[in-house]
């Protein structure tokens, strides 16, 4: 009884939550509403890649390709429906959006199967390049296909999909989380930890890898379909390699294998560049100076972290020295910049600066917390949250 209550309760809460977020989005401005939708999509993307990458240990760095497959599937479906007069270009009924989501999930899942099957025999980095290559091949095919809008892009009818975006995100989280709770899920972890050993223990490594790949890709595809109908227009530039890298970064930064980590990192990394839009303009010499200073400081802290065996006094002295070097370096660089005519007295607006800060934050985070925000662990309030499954 209680089991069922928990189950139904959680589904109910998720649906209610998704629609609550939808209401929130509807009642806020366009900007916020879109950001809420995109944030949900990134959560789905990060959690689904986490299944492939963090939980099963398959090194995929081309997740945006599956996102793209789903997105274009939905766009193509919509264009066909419009051509047949079933829907108009002015708005997409939600029932059709859901059909599109399923179609997108299936096609992206098939793409995952298509890529996953042959890539099974490949070890980490080889798989990585194949997934990356798949994205590039896809881009070139789409560019040369007029039915898909070529390099310009393709229009689709819009719909208000925010609740469904978050429903998908919750579903994705639930599937991954529940997978880990079952014996089945343990096999995924075992493949991550040691392929050979888990194979020897009777785990069908191939099947697990493909399953992870297909499920992860299908979720990315579904997210793509929602992107299509949220934006009303997509083109290949929305799915470039750097989008893949960002998704991968979300997974690693959150802590590979940690679902909550992926969620938190996805939200953080998605929101950071948006917040930085409001950052003040800064003089170039201050930027360069602080970059150098921070780099030196991070280096020193890293050094301290790696040499815990040293005595406290030695460490202290080193830290102070390092701090001095960092501050000194920062000052030297900021003053030095003014002696380069092309760089002197330049002020950089936040719009040009935000990606620099973003990448700097990324490097610093990785250096200071290489295991990710949560490591392999899950985050919960106190002990309420169930502990991670031990591999």
């Amino acid at each position: 009884m209680r089991f069922w209550a928990v189950r139904l309760g959680s589904i109910g809460l998720a649906v209610a939550g998704a629609f609550a977020i939808g209401m929130l989005a509807q009642n806020s401005g366009n900007t916020v509403s879109r950001l809420i939708a995109l944030a949900g999509l990134y959560v789905t993307l990060a959690v689904s890649l986490n299944l492939i990458n963090g939980i099963t240990g398959q090194f995929s760095i081309g997740h945006a390709a599956f996102y793209q497959v789903g997105s274009y599937t939905a766009a193509f479906l919509a264009s066909q429906l419009v051509a047949r007069g079933i829907i108009t270009t002015t708005g997409m009924p939600i029932s059709w959006v859901l059909v599109a989501v399923i179609a997108a999930a299936v096609s992206a899942g098939l793409a995952g199967l298509f890529i996953g099957l042959p890539s099974l025999r490949l070890r980490g980095d080889y798989l990585a390049i194949v997934t990356l290559g798949f994205g590039e091949i896809l881009r070139i095919i789409i560019q040369n296909t007029n039915e898909l809008g070529g390099s310009y892009g393709i229009n689709s009818p819009k719909a208000f999909v925010v609740p469904y975006v978050w429903l998908l995100a919750f579903l994705c989280i639930a599937v991954c989380r529940n997978l880990l709770q079952t014996a089945h899920g343990l096999t995924f972890l075992s493949v991550r930890e040691d392929e050979v050993a888990s194979g020897a223990m009777g785990v069908n490594v191939t099947r697990i890898k493909v399953a992870a790949f297909v499920i992860g890709s299908a979720f990315a595809g579904a997210a793509g379909a929602l992107l299509t109908h949220n934006e009303g227009f997509i083109n290949v530039n929305s799915f470039t390699m750097d989008v893949s890298f960002i998704i991968l970064t979300m997974v690693v930064l959150g802590g590979t294998g940690s679902i909550t980590g992926s969620v938190v990192a996805a939200l953080a990394l998605f929101i950071l560049p948006e917040i930085l839009r409001d950052a003040p303009a800064m003089p170039l010499n201050a930027i360069l100076g602080s970059l150098v200073g921070i780099a030196l400081l991070v280096g020193v802290i890293r050094l301290a972290m790696d040499n815990k065996g040293l005595g406290r006094e030695v460490m202290g002295a080193r830290l102070w020295l390092g701090l001095g070097v960092a501050v000194g370096g920062a000052i030297v660089v900021s003053i030095g910049t003014n002696f380069v005519p092309a760089l002197a007295n330049r002020t950089i607006p936040s719009a040009e600066l935000r990606m620099v800060i973003f990448s700097a934050v990324l490097v610093i985070m990785m250096l200071l917390r290489p295991q990710g925000i949560f490591g392999h662990r899950e985050f919960g309030l106190g002990k309420l949250f169930p502990k991670e499954v031990k591999a």
């Binding site: 928990v6 189950r7 995109l38 919750f170 529940n178 709770q181 530039n237």
Partner: protein, 415 residues
């Protein structure tokens, strides 16, 4: 199971679903629900639907104009120039007293060369209360901006987006540049009628909608005139080596080579064409326009012809004063690309419409933009009245010489 109940109370949404079991949660979104909430209320039918939203009013201490530009990513060179041009225009407008005692304020947002970020940028500008948006350079990003602006009833003046169907998004969308449907035919006529070239090979940048559109319109007109397109080769912006394509072209013995891409690759192609011994005339569109064209293309590009909006050596007062102002602001440099002038023109056109607007709100500005007649801009007179957002503009054919571009022949607008 006991402690799991507590999770519901403490963790809200995400955590809650995590407590289910494997089979329980897979059916959540398969049942279609009918909570369809339409957001856009576009009026279907007419070619250019009118926005239904009321749009912002001109109020507050400053008149805010928004600019979306690619300040990061691969379109940065054009984004930077459009930003510089827009800033120059705002500075000038404010120096001459602003409008009704108010100053203009330019709010710039980055599109990061990506359509969806362009949309975020436009949304943010709308949220900040701009009365008009200027931008973008790329058609794909502009389409996204136009879409957001349409929903909010805000006028858009596109800087360099030449995709022909772009202005069909709504009656709030205008541009200061000509469309792909014009400059391609201009070059086709110039090649066929003036240079009497009969057999032309085309090289298209497959990554740029601009280049694809231009190649299409050029090919169509050139064939209609009686010429022959003997080969079409493709490349992607960012490619560095074109020997293979050029060797192919050389094997076909064309009279000329039409390069519809941007100067970044055109320069390389021109250099390498000379290297492989292909010494035919090169022709192209306004994407060639840059101070870097000759230094990038070297001797290979000299003698080529391309279609441009205006020319730095033109005598028109608009051009002269624009270049003087530009040089004064940017340490004696000339604009790197045409987007400098077009960004400037876009802001000037927007400001002019704001001044002429009968009602001081977005609707008034859109009406004023739509009524523009013979607005003297750097890139030639702009008339938007009855033109559906696409100004019929004149185009210049200029020749590339070692010392710069030399004006050769002007084409007034033709269908």
């Amino acid at each position: 199971m006991k402690n799991k109940i507590g999770v519901f109370l403490t963790l809200a949404l995400a955590g809650s679903l995590l407590i289910g079991c494997n089979s329980s949660s897979s059916s959540t979104n398969t049942t279609p629900s009918d909570t369809d909430k339409p957001t856009t209320t576009t009026t279907a039918g007419g070619k250019r639907p009118a926005p239904t939203a009321a749009g912002p009013k001109i109020e507050g201490p400053t008149v805010k104009i928004g600019l979306v530009a690619s300040l990061n990513g691969e379109l940065k060179p054009w984004g930077d120039d459009s930003k510089n041009g827009a800033e120059l225009a705002i500075e000038e407008l404010n120096k001459s007293g602003g409008i009704d005692g108010k100053q203009y304020e330019l709010i710039t947002e980055d599109s990061n060369s990506k359509p969806e970020q362009g949309k975020t940028a436009a949304d943010r500008l709308i949220g900040k209360g701009v009365v008009g948006i200027v931008g973008e350079v790329a058609s794909g990003i502009t389409a996204q901006i136009a879409d957001s602006a349409f929903a909010a009833g805000v006028p858009v003046v596109a800087v360099g987006a030449t995709k022909t169907t772009l202005t069909d998004i709504g009656s709030n969308v205008f541009r200061v540049c000509y469309t792909d449907d014009f400059q391609g035919p201009v070059m086709a006529r110039f090649a066929y009628e003036e240079l009497r070239l009969k057999r032309i090979a085309v090289m298209t940048d497959n990554k740029q909608p601009y280049s694809q559109g231009l190649s299409e319109s050029f090919k169509a007109k050139f064939k209609a005139l009686g010429g022959e397109i003997i080969a079409e080769e493709f490349y992607n912006s960012g490619d560095q080596q074109f020997n293979a394509q050029l060797t192919n072209v050389k094997g076909k013995n064309p009279d000329a080579l039409f390069l519809s891409g941007y100067f970044t690759e055109v320069g390389l192609i021109a250099r390498q064409a000379r290297d492989v011994g292909l010494s035919v005339k090169l022709l192209g569109g306004d994407g060639w326009d840059s101070e870097e064209l000759v230094s990038g293309g070297g001797e290979g590009i000299v003698g080529g012809y391309f279609c441009n909006h205006y020319n730095n050596q033109e005598d028109r007062p608009e051009v002269k004063s624009f270049l003087e102002k530009w040089k004064a602001k940017f340490a004696g440099k000339l604009p790197g690309t045409t987007m400098g002038a077009l960004g400037y023109d876009s802001v000037m056109l927007m400001a002019d419409a704001i001044k002429r607007a009968e009602t001081k709100d977005a609707k008034g500005i859109i009406a004023a933009l739509d009524n523009t007649e013979n607005f003297p801009s750097v890139s030639g007179a702009i008339t938007l009245k009855g033109k559906g957002g696409n100004p019929p503009k004149r185009a210049l054919v200029v020749e590339v010489t070692k010392t710069g571009q030399v004006f050769r022949k002007a084409y007034e607008y033709f269908e």
